[in-house]
């Protein structure tokens, strides 16, 4: 049994692609992530309450999971066999400093619970899992840059040990409105095509 990459998305330099095809986005009147939210026709008010990192992870996962390649097969997998294994580099630095700034003034010391909750970097895994009812293995690793070898090996080992039957993997990072995301959906297969290997991942991660 091998592992196959079914679909992938990319967000970089204020552009977005699904399986290599660019989305035609107009974000002159709204933020970049909101433009994708609108383009995908999403109705999920909680999106507006998220910090930028969670918004990015959420939007990237929606682009990935709502496209037909994945949508048509996602119900084939048990919820507790779908994993979410991601990486990023800046963790939650933006929201950490926002939260820190918000509690500096001792006279106006009202820490915001809604802000604080996003100082936990793996909260985005929860956002994705709650939205899609995924209950499988999930982990967020912090590396200086996308560690493809680690990501591929880790995910493949979960498949080999029958921990998961499908997985959202990849990388997402947000700082000061610089968005960078590469997410893919992988599943177990007997086929040789689109194998989940470092070579193949490096070809689609541009």
């Amino acid at each position: 049994m091998g592992v196959e990459v079914v679909s992938y998305i990319r967000i970089k330099d204020h552009k977005a692609w699904i399986n290599g095809e660019a989305l035609n986005l107009d974000f002159s009147a709204m933020s970049f992530l909101k433009a994708i939210y609108k383009d995908l026709g999403l109705k999920y008010p909680k999106f507006y309450k998220m910090d930028e990192l969670s918004k990015l992870g959420f939007i990237a996962s929606e682009m990935l999971l709502q496209n037909n390649n994945v949508k048509s097969i996602i119900n084939d997998f048990k919820q507790d066999k779908i994993g979410v294994i991601l990486q990023n580099s800046d963790s939650t630095i933006d929201v950490d400093s926002n939260f820190y700034d918000s509690i500096l003034d001792e006279q106006k010391h009202f820490p915001s619970p809604a802000l604080f909750v996003y100082t936990l970097p793996n909260i985005v895994l929860g956002e994705i899992s709650i939205r899609n009812k995924f209950k499988g293995e999930n982990a967020l690793f912090v590396f200086q840059k996308y560690n493809m070898t680690f990501g591929v090996d880790y995910i493949n080992s979960l498949f080999e040990n029958n921990k998961i039957e499908a997985c959202v993997g990849g990388w997402f990072n947000a700082n000061s409105e610089n968005y960078d995301a590469f997410l893919y959906f992988a599943k177990g297969t007997n086929k040789q095509e689109n194998a989940h290997t470092v070579d193949n991942i490096s070809k689609i991660y541009k």
Binding site: P45, K46, Y48, K49, S112, P113, A114
Partner: protein, 84 residues
């Protein structure tokens, strides 16, 4: 009282980042949680902070929260009671 309720609605919308929701969209008796505005537990905490920040009211008994945060009506009544 009506002025307080409208002010409260505007503060709720701002504090909870309720996109595409206007003051007029929230009726005084609408349930804030569950089927109403669909707020969650983090929003409840945010409303408790709002009461303290904007009105200087500290909710002493967390169990009271369920009744007080039921609707704009119940929040406004609580504020008036505490300010009296």
């Amino acid at each position: 009282m009506e002025e307080l309720k409208n002010k409260l609605k505007a503060q709720i919308i701002e504090a909870l980042n309720l996109e595409d929701v206007e003051v007029e969209d929230i009726s005084n008796s609408d349930a804030l949680f569950g089927d109403g505005l669909g707020l969650d537990s983090i929003d409840a905490l945010e409303l408790i902070v709002l009461l303290e920040r904007e009105y200087g009211i500290k909710m002493d008994d967390a169990a009271e929260g369920k009744t007080i945060l039921q609707s704009v009506n119940s929040m406004a009544e609580y504020i008036q009671l505490k300010k009296a």
